[in-house]
Symmetry: C2
Subunit: 437 residues, 2 copies
């Protein structure tokens, strides 16, 4: 039996219990912080030499030069060519669907002329440009995921980023061929087999060999996350993700084994992952609970799954599906499955979620790999204010302002009035100079 929490929205202390269930604070470890600070300053000061030393020490590699830590394009292409055909086709199909979805995202530049007579000839706009150079961190070892390479690299490529540099640690020299194949498919320009805070430092500051990037994206362990937070400002970073989450709202008509397996699919990520079912049907909740118990022994990662479900999972009974949507908005989940026969009609009630999986055929796993949208999504309730990774994250905007001589007369007077009001006379005078002209 899995000791998963049971909540009901009619419990007198339901709000408090729900708050407690959702509470999660990423602890910052002082020891990790100090180690990372030291690594960053060493790499900043000594470049390649420091990166090589840390890689020898942490990844047990015997490399003595950066050249030994770089893979060539032909090595990436060989990894792709060597894949079993089924894997290669799956990876190519996924890449193509992800590309096709993201190609609908790019922002376009625009500009327009002021229509007013008094500002005739004045033009305003925004110019959209891709980032010059992006670094992609890919974890090594068991959490080295080819899908993550596609989801991070493809939006960058679609945005038009000039150069994409990937880093992936290869502890004891072990390469993951699927990851290298994904890098080949996604069009990674250079790949270094380094990882940890030293790889983040190399990308953020540049070394003799590794060029400085403008932004670093991709998941990583606590050292990588701490390093990314510290270099933010020197370079851009994507979000620092919390544990993965799924919320399933079910009307009680989906096969209970499907829902149970969807809850497992988050729970198998790690022991802090969160899987929650919300449903108005008491009997159905019991059927899902029974399916969880039945299926658990068949799962290779059952220890992790049990720990996650017992630590942070829940089966929540609600009055009706309206209340279920209300709770979903409170949670703002990373993944939300609407496992209902008329799922489409409920989408408008959801204000906050990273991604919505509509209808019982849309298992969350399809979105992780190949539906098309990005699988990098806001966690820990941050869907209230942030968004899936996208082409947007690899573009930036520059405002354009061209004020005509006519425009400078009108706008100069307005600006001068406001600048004097703010006690900024140089601002006012610089506007007035153009008025007087």
């Amino acid at each position: 039996m899995i000791a998963i929490k049971r909540l009901s929205s009619t419990d007198p202390d339901f709000k408090e219990r729900l708050d407690a269930l959702l509470a999660f604070e990423a602890a910052q470890d002082a020891c990790v912080e100090q180690t990372v600070a030291d690594i960053l300053s060493e790499v900043k000061a000594r470049g390649d030499a420091a990166v090589i030393e840390y890689t020898q020490r942490f990844d047990a590699l015997s490399a003595n030069s950066m050249a030994e830590l770089e893979l060539s394009q032909s090595e990436l292409q060989q990894a792709l060519a060597a894949l079993p055909p089924t894997q290669r086709q799956a990876l190519e199909a996924a890449a193509e669907r992800v590309r096709s979805y993201h190609q609908r995202q790019p922002l376009q530049s625009w500009q327009y002329e002021d229509e007013g007579e008094k500002t005739h000839g004045t033009m305003l706009g925004q110019k959209v440009t891709p980032l010059d150079r992006v670094g992609l961190y890919v974890p090594g070892g068991k959490a080295s995921y080819p899908s993550s390479v596609l989801m991070n690299a493809i939006p960058a490529r679609v945005a038009g980023v000039r150069e994409l540099i990937m880093v992936v640690p290869t502890p004891a020299g072990e390469h993951n061929p699927l990851v290298l194949a994904a890098a080949a498919l996604a069009g990674v320009d250079r790949l270094f087999t380094i990882g940890g805070a030293q790889a983040i430092a190399a990308l953020a500051y540049g070394t003799q060999t590794i060029p400085q990037v403008d932004k670093i994206v991709g998941p990583g362990n606590a050292y990588v996350a701490a390093a990314k937070r510290r270099v933010y400002g020197v370079v851009g970073i994507d979000m620092v993700a919390g544990p993965s989450e799924i919320l399933v709202i079910c009307d009680g008509q989906t096969n209970p084994a499907w829902v149970a397996m969807d809850l497992f699919s988050q729970a198998e990520h790690d022991e802090l992952a969160q899987s929650i079912l919300v449903c108005p049907d008491t009997a159905y909740i019991e059927r899902v609970a029974a399916a969880l118990d039945d299926l658990l022994p068949t799962m290779p990662r059952q220890r992790v799954i049990r720990a996650a479900l017992e630590n942070r999972g829940a089966l929540i009974q609600v009055r009706d599906l309206d209340e279920a949507c209300h709770i979903a908005n409170r949670i703002a989940p990373e993944h939300l499955e609407l496992s209902m026969a008329d799922a489409e009609t409920w989408v408008d009630k959801i204000r906050h979620a990273g991604a919505i999986f509509i209808g019982p055929y849309t298992s969350e796993a399809l979105g992780d790999y190949c539906a098309g949208p990005n699988h990098v999504l806001p966690t820990s309730g941050s869907a209230r204010f942030s968004s899936p990774l996208g082409v947007y994250d690899f573009q930036k905007r520059t405002s354009l302002i061209r004020v005509s001589q006519a425009g400078s007369q009108t706008l100069g007077r307005i600006a001068a009035t406001l600048a004097y009001g703010e006690g900024l006379p140089a601002h006012a005078r610089s506007a007035e100079y153009r008025v007087e002209s």
Copy 2:
């Protein structure tokens, strides 16, 4: 004489001197950090009572209840009605132009159906929604700027944010009528006269009186910046801005007094502000230097201006305008003036800048107040990877995925292959269940 640095791109050590000129690292003060950590935890634990105590202590207010620290809509409207007509008209004209520009920004939701036969009926999309509730921090005292209220509040309103809560400290009870009038014009819903880390904490965690927001925007002092960094994750935040910067590229044909005053207009902000002129014409650079010396004694804020120009300012001679653009891309300035007769033709050469002011009539001050684009711009070179504040910052995207039964057969096989490849069998099985159906 202002001892402003002179650089030339032909100097053998030019690159090093330019790097040194641009180097700026925001120091984190351990004492500020500890004070802020304490304030955040007190407000989180005790709510209104802690906010009132800190406000009594830091702002010398005698208020004993939150009700005394909230201004009513009629007080805001009275402030607007009481403005001198010229100021009111200027504020209204600025608000209208800022609104008009930002109305071109909102992202729209979209969705599309898969065209392939094998995935027939599968729909993908992204749903764009405004944030529910936003907090706007406005500094008190001398840096209390009505233009900042407009630039932060109007994009939020255009995005459709439901509730906009402003905080502004009023040390010793002194209100800034222009700031209150701007709040009325921009449509702020509630306004509390609180500030500092205690105001950030109240917005981030919520108190008995102040509702929790989803994102906090707006400038502030070191305590406010530290508090924003610490609550990031609980709520969204905008960027934490560095000192203001202007880079002027001039072809030597603009009135030197205009360029000198534009350099002053950044320098008057504070002693760390950075004003740089880049020009290929030696004689013209000398004329600007002379204008700086001539005009300085006429400036009320001359002490600050001199300090900024001597600390961080520079006059840089270059070989030609192409090289000037190259340097601009290296600097990625917050504000870039192209003060050239044919300025328009150089815009395409600029890849990195917060805003480009095109042509000699476009003084940077016009953009600060009323041209239309936002004046909250990326500083310290972060225009390489980030963008002006905009409606985008008050919207978020949710991915939509609806896989049909047909689609789940095709996509399920792809997902299962990749999931097994990643060692995630529950992901694979949840996809396979739908294939078998």
